[in-house]
Symmetry: C2
Subunit: 216 residues, 2 copies
């Protein structure tokens, strides 16, 4: 490879994570406000340019940390975006991931080196974003809906266990549709992903539900 061929110069890799949460039954995505050009003062997904001395996964985690203060987020790959003009500065490829956290349990840094704000936006009211991030979010939402049916991504909401009705509400919020209680229960138990505990809910003005946990 002729490193100095001008056609190879000035290329980079964006590592971008669509971080979701469910807040009072509503699916939201975390957006940060950019301090710098390009797209100064635009809202954007968390992410940025990969360094040339770090693995892809490390760069992604670093970007999440730098722009939100969050560490150790479990993510899944979503898609690659490679239009030549997707960045106005230079040629950037984007590798897109999804993650999900419990917004009520974490503190998001609102003012960082590169961001002046951070907010949770309902996915039905996302503003015009920097770069092609609107398109990236759309694909990320599709990936999210597929992944929660195959993995235990949602365990972040229930570090101390959950009742099946609670879990079902989170699924319904993300999938955007009602599920049948009996079928949901059957499905979850058949996936071999959760186990019942001896505990029950407390202090509720109704029948107490049994508490489950995700398997380790």
């Amino acid at each position: 490879m002729e490193v100095n061929n001008p056609r190879y110069l000035h290329q980079g890799i964006h590592v971008i994570t669509s971080i979701f949460t469910v807040d009072k039954g509503v699916l939201k995505v975390l957006l940060v406000k950019r301090k710098n050009n390009p797209y100064k003062d635009f809202w954007a997904l968390t992410g940025g340019a990969l360094y040339n001395d770090e693995d892809l996964e490390d760069g992604r985690n670093r970007e999440i940390y730098e722009k939100t203060g969050l560490k150790k987020i479990e993510v899944k790959f979503s898609k690659v975006f490679g239009k030549k003009d997707r960045s106005p500065v230079m040629r950037m490829i984007a590798i897109s991931y999804i993650g999900i956290i419990d917004a009520s349990k974490v503190e998001i840094a609102k003012d960082t080196l590169k961001t002046s704000n951070a907010e949770w936006f309902e996915i039905t009211s996302i503003p015009k974003l920097a770069y092609d991030h609107n398109e990236i979010i759309e694909e990320a939402i599709k990936t999210l809906k597929e992944e929660i049916l195959k993995t235990d991504l949602l365990k972040v909401f229930f570090p101390n266990g959950f009742t099946l009705p609670e879990l079902q509400k989170v699924y319904e919020s993300i999938l955007g549709k009602k599920l049948d209680r009996r079928n949901f229960r059957k499905k979850m138990l058949s996936l071999d992903m959760i186990i019942p505990t001896e505990e029950e809910e407390k202090f509720v003005g109704k029948k107490k539900a049994k508490i489950y946990k995700f398997k380790v």
Copy 2:
């Protein structure tokens, strides 16, 4: 983004396609022999570095063309490879795709600007390849097995239609296992991907099989 931050410099994107074929019931992958460093005289998958003035898909097609003379290959995305040291020259991310062609119907250029040879290798006897291409092929084979069950990638073998036993043999070669004739037929017909024609096989010393075509 500070374009001149040294940590952003010298990065590039490999666009790599594992091109498969089935030849006399054996799954093979196309490898080319490199003329230049790094990995001079090593066998490698078809692919190379993306230019900074072309879309990802265009770069992938250009690389296939430059290294094999092939045009218009339909491909599917496989995986991203992002270890920081996967190239000894500079930091390169690899975007990996799969494709499949009928080796008997195309002429592969054996001597190009960057390659001194091109051969079909059985996937059970692949040599030590350039870069991390051995790992990329392994993942590509997984992707291939998934995709042929969901898409009409195999239509390249049958431009003039096919009988179900013929099609089944190709599936068996790729999946590496025998399939039940009755179940295969049911599955194929239920996928709504093929349609029967009025024709039959000719000149065979046995019962004539009906000829099918892939839907447009």
